[in-house]
Symmetry: C3
Subunit: 366 residues, 3 copies
Amino acid sequence: MKTMNQLLKEIRHNPLLWLLAFVPVVFVGQRLAPEAHTLLFVLSVLAIVPLAALLSHATESVAAKTGDTVGGLLNATLGNLTELVIALTALRMGQHMLVKASIAGAIVTNTLFMLGASFLLGGLKHHVQEFNVAGARVQAVQLFLATIALLVPSALSGADSVQMVAFTQTLSLCLAILLIATYCLGLLFSLGTHRELFGGTGHGEAEEAPWPMGVAVATLAAVTVLVALVSEVFVESVQEAALAFGMTQAFVGFIVVALVGAAAEMASAFSAARKNRLDLSVGIALGSAAQIALFVAPVLVLASYIIGPSPMNLQFWPGAVVMMLIATLTATLVSSGGRAAWFSGVSILVVYLIFAITLYLLPPRA
Amino acid sequence: MKTMNQLLKEIRHNPLLWLLAFVPVVFVGQRLAPEAHTLLFVLSVLAIVPLAALLSHATESVAAKTGDTVGGLLNATLGNLTELVIALTALRMGQHMLVKASIAGAIVTNTLFMLGASFLLGGLKHHVQEFNVAGARVQAVQLFLATIALLVPSALSGADSVQMVAFTQTLSLCLAILLIATYCLGLLFSLGTHRELFGGTGHGEAEEAPWPMGVAVATLAAVTVLVALVSEVFVESVQEAALAFGMTQAFVGFIVVALVGAAAEMASAFSAARKNRLDLSVGIALGSAAQIALFVAPVLVLASYIIGPSPMNLQFWPGAVVMMLIATLTATLVSSGGRAAWFSGVSILVVYLIFAITLYLLPPRA
Amino acid sequence: MKTMNQLLKEIRHNPLLWLLAFVPVVFVGQRLAPEAHTLLFVLSVLAIVPLAALLSHATESVAAKTGDTVGGLLNATLGNLTELVIALTALRMGQHMLVKASIAGAIVTNTLFMLGASFLLGGLKHHVQEFNVAGARVQAVQLFLATIALLVPSALSGADSVQMVAFTQTLSLCLAILLIATYCLGLLFSLGTHRELFGGTGHGEAEEAPWPMGVAVATLAAVTVLVALVSEVFVESVQEAALAFGMTQAFVGFIVVALVGAAAEMASAFSAARKNRLDLSVGIALGSAAQIALFVAPVLVLASYIIGPSPMNLQFWPGAVVMMLIATLTATLVSSGGRAAWFSGVSILVVYLIFAITLYLLPPRA
């Protein structure tokens, strides 16, 4: 009961969480009008956003209570839990295109939209903002190296012969294992041997009071289940809804899914930028993108062998590869300066807009 | 009459302006020998170079008299007026290939040839030269972001289906509007909210005494008309002349038109480098390239809807895209060091030479 | 006799040189079992490694005795002599694929494997290591510019028409001459006009006592002949051996030949990293890669007109181009930080592993 009370108190003070009311509405809607795809799509989006926020807060509360090392590990592993659960749902339904679009989209959205909007929102309040170049550089380099692993299978797969398909699948499996091993070594580095270099990039723990352990773990478990259930409605309705809105599937996976999945982290990044703590914003944006590339993408490849109808590879649509590479290069260039003003944000957002417009206009079968 | 006297005095002191004698020769030549394409080509090149120098001086004189903000605005808008007028003439004749080659060529020539030759000429006189990294970085990043907008339509247009052609056209129009909006925001940033960051990159105003307002405006108007008329001869003769000289059309657009159009700015950039004012040289080179990408290119797309026989898109030849991207990356890398010696210049010029040789040797229909 | 004694003394103190015993074994093996390709391949690899070490020491001894300028020139020209001799042998046999794979592989191996392993080995002993950013930047930029010359012919050669083949050949010849000219100007810069900027990147001369001039020159001549003879066995057996080991030709050229050829330099780079002299390691790795691109590759193109059955061009397999570009960008990004820890090494080695796995799995005719 105490758990329940604490949760309700939290909800009352955070307007974003009022959207939780849409969670039951989604399930009722799915029962009553299973064919109203557009409505179900909108409802599921409105329901996922507050669930992602709860998930994020629960993860941080558990992390805060378990000490630096285990906490850092939890934050690093569950930081993109919403994206992971949505992608796993799509994977189980065999929608590899949507999964890949959401991986590429999450990398692009985190590096361009989250970073750009942070710079813009921070810059509208503060004349010039500074951030730690060394920290940003480590994350940008890591992101760049991870992106390469996603580019190689796509760059090499010209012909679609049987031999090449088998090659791409084996290669993707090997790369997935290699990336996860690298991710684990990276955690050993940042939480173990060189912990002192990474001080102060906690995901806004200081912002809100952490929940007690019981509340946090229970919320984590319950909300993950809810996200999984809502994701099912979301994935089922997304394609029909895209048609109704005149959006291409690429646009939906790349832009809509990515924005929905990262909503909670964006709220933290933007709030930090307004408070002139741009280090934190840059850390959330680049760290989250690197985690998608190094951890979420390979986990999905491995998971596809277990839960999917067929194994998924890491071969992306060439346009997505170009966009990931440009996004990573942009982040590397911009973050190497150490200073930002509102126009830095505009510049990065323009790149994001270019991609969004392109995907929106792209003919369905291009 | 006073205007005329001032202008004549200027001409007497600047040997470059003696080339103005070729302006009437071009028009006489066009009347008497309309088929002598090679001769007309050479004459029109010789006539455009001094006109461009006059245009540049006139723009700066008007800018100097109208105060910082309006002056900066004028300099920023009319800085590449020669390139713009030549391209508009080609556009009116429906020569989209030539227009695009001259856009790509102007970006490559400004970033590689103008920057490289400035480093070399400055380095032959001064052992090691330093320049402001922060200023160069802002312009290099802006140039990189603008180049992306020119790459995306080209990267995506694989098939030439009717659907893709329509997509490319709509996308180009949207990107053109987006780029011009970004350009305006950039002016608001550099002339308005963050003016203090951009001190001292005036285009060599201190070098020559500004003309009185009357002379300047009259010269600006008259010379623009002359450039337009000579450009017509230039564009009409360029293709036949290219054949006669054994040059490909790509080489002419990329190298010859770009060098002719930027001659006046090059003179300023080289002179600044010799005087150990490398900040100014870097500013002219990168600023001019960024202006072509952010302002001239989208204006030409929009203008093609009004004056052209058919609307122009932003889809470039893949080789041009690779060259623009390499040029931009080279500029970013080189300018991030903040120091230059003669070999820095040689290195950049070698990249330019690689491109020039490639375009010169390229078979006509490759 | 004195020469012989000195050489024998050297061999006794350096376990690596005990492998010299394999040199006669290779020639005996070739006589007795000319069809035992796998055995001959392994023997020739074991014989080349110590010969390369001797060659490296002999070059440095001659360089140490001839003063700074001539010595620097010798070091710069003969630094990759082993790679050059192996490639010349393959060239004489008309194996252009193997030559190109070994050029691309040497660039990738030096920038990724040598640099990454140096960072890792150094980082396992020292918590954080620092190195001179300015020196690393000069070499990284030079490497980047040289790589561009290798990319352009490959990027442009879409169709395989007769016209394009002739174009690619002429272009390759022009670029080869341009690159060698740039290399000579670079030597003039680093050994002549701006010598003071490049202090202290001698290839570990301080490590071992230099040999007397007579020993050094005699060793240089004799060992070069031996490398050439062993290379012949190596090149003849490599393809059959690759089949036997289940390796693709691309893997052999890219990974095996490159590792064998650079073994001696790697020993120096790794030893420097363990001694916390990371400047030296970075200098060897990037300098060697730049030398391959700027000097060895164009020399091979020119040599193919004299000793080869047919002239070689600079058109690489697209996958190799992508790998060279990524390797160069990675080196540029990583070296611009100026600090390294063990995870920096892991990150770079992961990129190398991605390439190695890809090449190992690649179907033979892809």
